[in-house]
Symmetry: C2
């Protein structure tokens, strides 16, 4: 039983019969080409294999199944050679990419094709590398998911509309495989949505009943959602789903069940902010906005973004330790530059700070501390409170800018590897309206209008 | 073996033979007068009875021992009548005071005499009120402490010199009885000082060995110093000693053992601060100093000071919750006014604050929260982080003064009873140099020059 919005969405995203036939034929041609080039079987995996792709998506994943007797080097060498041969046969273009080992990403006859070498193992227990698992996903789902294809498409589109689709680090949301397993387990889109709206942290889905009960599963996994991989009982398919995205999805599902709407299936349009709007907003907030800006490291977002976040957390702790209160902080990775934003309550602090000294019963350190400050007459101290010495000393960082500009201080912390390298080449400390640039006009708009996906949908619903 | 400083101090504080005889005679006359007035025995307690008073102290405590058969009301009535009769006989002046029940504080022939009615019980197990214990202290110590009188005097004077003498709430230091027990246990001043310089939190002194070991004692008492009362195994004589004073004493003892000096036996002279010095100091610190000022409640310091401290803690928490960082805070009880001081890092904050909302799985509260802020467009939110909602809202208290002046807010907190009554009659919020007044010129000087007693002694030692 579909509601009007679901019916409408399906008519938009369900691939046509012609599209299905065409994709199927393309897949078969690629399998044949692999056989011809390398003498090994290949299989189509992912949404095309399982018929669960959204109309217009032209992504085909080809896994080339090499004998497990090959060494890693041989697999890599023979795999890439076969892939290049296939691309050449069709006159496509290609680029090498890296997961656990290199693979080829090609454009062939308008399709985005990944050609991935893996070992043709008999079971996941015999896996030699992580990609070996992928063919098993397709083998497991291909028949089971066939009657539920429409439901999978609805859930994928719902996740896309809610900004929670994709298991990359930037999104931390739902992968396609996860959507399919959830639909399979709950028996359809509506059933799953009703269940999800009542989810709690530590939800367990164990389709193949590998574990005696939920408690046994929760003893092994601490993620908010735990979906045991039917092809590998040691793996949580939802491991990449962050607590925030899990909560956001719950809220989207809850709101949708209560009052469905078309907007839930449409991704939000990104908004921008102009420099003058940005300046006006800062004046209204009266906070002190700072940004560290530097060249974006030449790695994929999945590598860079977690490093930016780590760097942000380190510097945020430094600011707080020096008594600069952080209202909010955020990272943005642009094509040219990356920025780490700190919005502070105040930019400048008084001339003194209380320094915590050693416990009095630690005689050596207590003596050192007292000796050091015995003849400072400028401020108060050292004094004892309970079991410890304290003293007032002149504050080192009177302004937040002086801390952020202190390269020695900043580089003394744990920063992400590639972010550190880029920052060591040079970084700028920007303040207030100088932070704005064309490159970040979308990101900064999102920063100031930050709200949960569910809240944004509800606002849209009010305007529909 | 006394050092030169101790010998010099003793010559100054040891009562003369004439003074001893005179005190003894005065005591005897008072005992006789009680017998004559009320027909009950009396005893002299405290330092005069035990010969452990500092030269020139003219305090005599007379405990009038009434039969335990009397009711509380009878004890009170007969006790006060007897006390008044005694005072009249000697032509003294007097004033009623209150501990657990009323007693008379009189001036008789130049002595400060307390006339305290209590029950003449056979053991502390039969005590009917707390003052019944005092005579047992004297009975226990009178012979044992006789050979150690000089050592007791040295310790008392050392405590006075170090600002840690007195078990009142304002000081939280060492009582006379505690000094005597410590000297008794450690066998003299020098032995005790060496021991004290190595003290750790949870030190145990159980002279009568009431408990099998220190562990058994620590299971019952959590104070930094635990001295089991030889007359009552359930009581820690050092219960009023605060952790801070305990640590300060340790440091004084440690420094004295390492490098003794005359200054350790001389209380620090109080310093004052002028209004112009006060103003200059504030400018140098660049902090934001605020004070709540109100009429001092008409109760003794032992009652008022803990209430001032409680009030300070409550308001301090309010400030911190509203994101005003407190550098230091303090209370001062003057004869006319009391002030509670808050030294803040900044006086003014930006227009926004992040409000923490309910967890998303609490559907009722989540709905209420989202509904409330759904159509606020001014600032960001509501958003989800991990399992909880947050939103930016306009800040209620932009200035610290507006919070401190908000009577409804201030009176919503847990304030000390008499302090609350006084504040409800009216309080002023003072800022910066307006806080200075003649009444607090000593206290404010101490605030800015705050340092531990041990540090002050070391500084004096450098100048000697």
């Amino acid at each position: 039983m579909r509601n009007e919005y679901e019916t409408a969405v399906l008519s938009r995203i369900l691939p046509s019969d012609a599209e299905r036939v065409e994709s199927h034929l393309m897949g078969q041609k690629l399998i044949d080409a692999v056989k011809e080039a390398a003498g090994v079987p290949a299989m189509i995996t992912g949404s095309v294999a399982r018929g669960t792709w959204v109309k217009g998506d032209k992504d085909i994943d080809v896994f080339m199944l090499f004998p497990p007797e090959l060494s890693r080097d041989e697999l890599q060498e023979k795999g890439l050679a076969a892939a290049y041969a296939v691309v050449e046969k069709f006159g496509g273009t290609s680029e090498e990419k890296y997961a656990e080992h290199p693979y080829l990403n090609a454009v062939i006859e308008g399709y985005d094709v990944d050609l991935v070498p893996c070992y043709n193992v008999a079971s996941t227990a015999e896996m030699k590398c992580a990609v070996d698992r992928t063919p098993f996903h397709t083998r497991y789902l291909i028949d089971k998911i066939a009657p539920l294809k429409e439901d999978v498409l609805l859930l994928k589109q719902f996740c896309k509309g809610g900004g929670v689709y994709g298991s990359d680090h930037m999104t931390g949301g739902f992968s396609g495989y996860l959507c399919e397993l959830l639909i399979l387990h709950y028996g359809g889109f509506s059933n799953f949505m009703r269940a999800a709206s009542k989810f709690r942290y530590g939800e367990v889905v164990d389709i193949e009943k590998y574990y005696p009960d939920k408690k046994a599963v929760r003893a092994l996994f601490t993620d908010p959602l735990i979906v045991i991989d039917p092809t590998d009982k040691h793996r949580n398919v939802a491991a990449a789903l962050t607590p925030t995205r899990f909560s956001e999805f719950m809220e989207l599902a809850r709101d949708y069940c209560e009052k469905p709407g078309a907007c839930y299936f449409v991704p939000d349009a990104a908004t921008t902010i102009s420099k003058s709007e940005f300046t006006a907003l800062l004046e209204r907030r009266k906070t002190a906005l700072y940004a560290l800006s530097f060249k974006t490291p030449e790695y994929v977002a999945d590598t860079v973004v977690p490093q930016l976040r780590k760097t942000m957390e380190t510097i945020r702790s430094m600011l707080i330790k020096e008594e600069f209160q952080v209202h909010r902080s955020e990272v943005f990775m642009g094509p040219e530059h990356s920025i780490i934003i700190f919005e502070l309550l105040v930019a400048e602090l008084p001339n003194i700070i209380v320094r915590e000294g050693p416990p009095v019963w630690n005689h050596t350190n207590a003596d050192k501390f007292v000796e050091k400050y015995l003849h400072q007459e400028e401020f108060a101290g050292p004094w004892i409170f309970e079991d410890r010495y304290y003293t007032e000393v002149p504050r080192k960082y009177i302004t937040a800018a002086s801390l952020l500009e202190d390269r020695k201080k900043i580089f003394s912390g744990a920063l992400g590897k590639h972010v550190r390298i880029s920052m060591e080449e040079g970084y700028d400390v920007l303040c207030g309206s100088d932070i704005w640039s064309e490159e970040f006009s979308f990101s900064l708009s999102a920063y100031f209008a930050r709200s949960s996906h569910a809240v944004r949908k509800m606002r849209q619903l009010c305007n529909e």
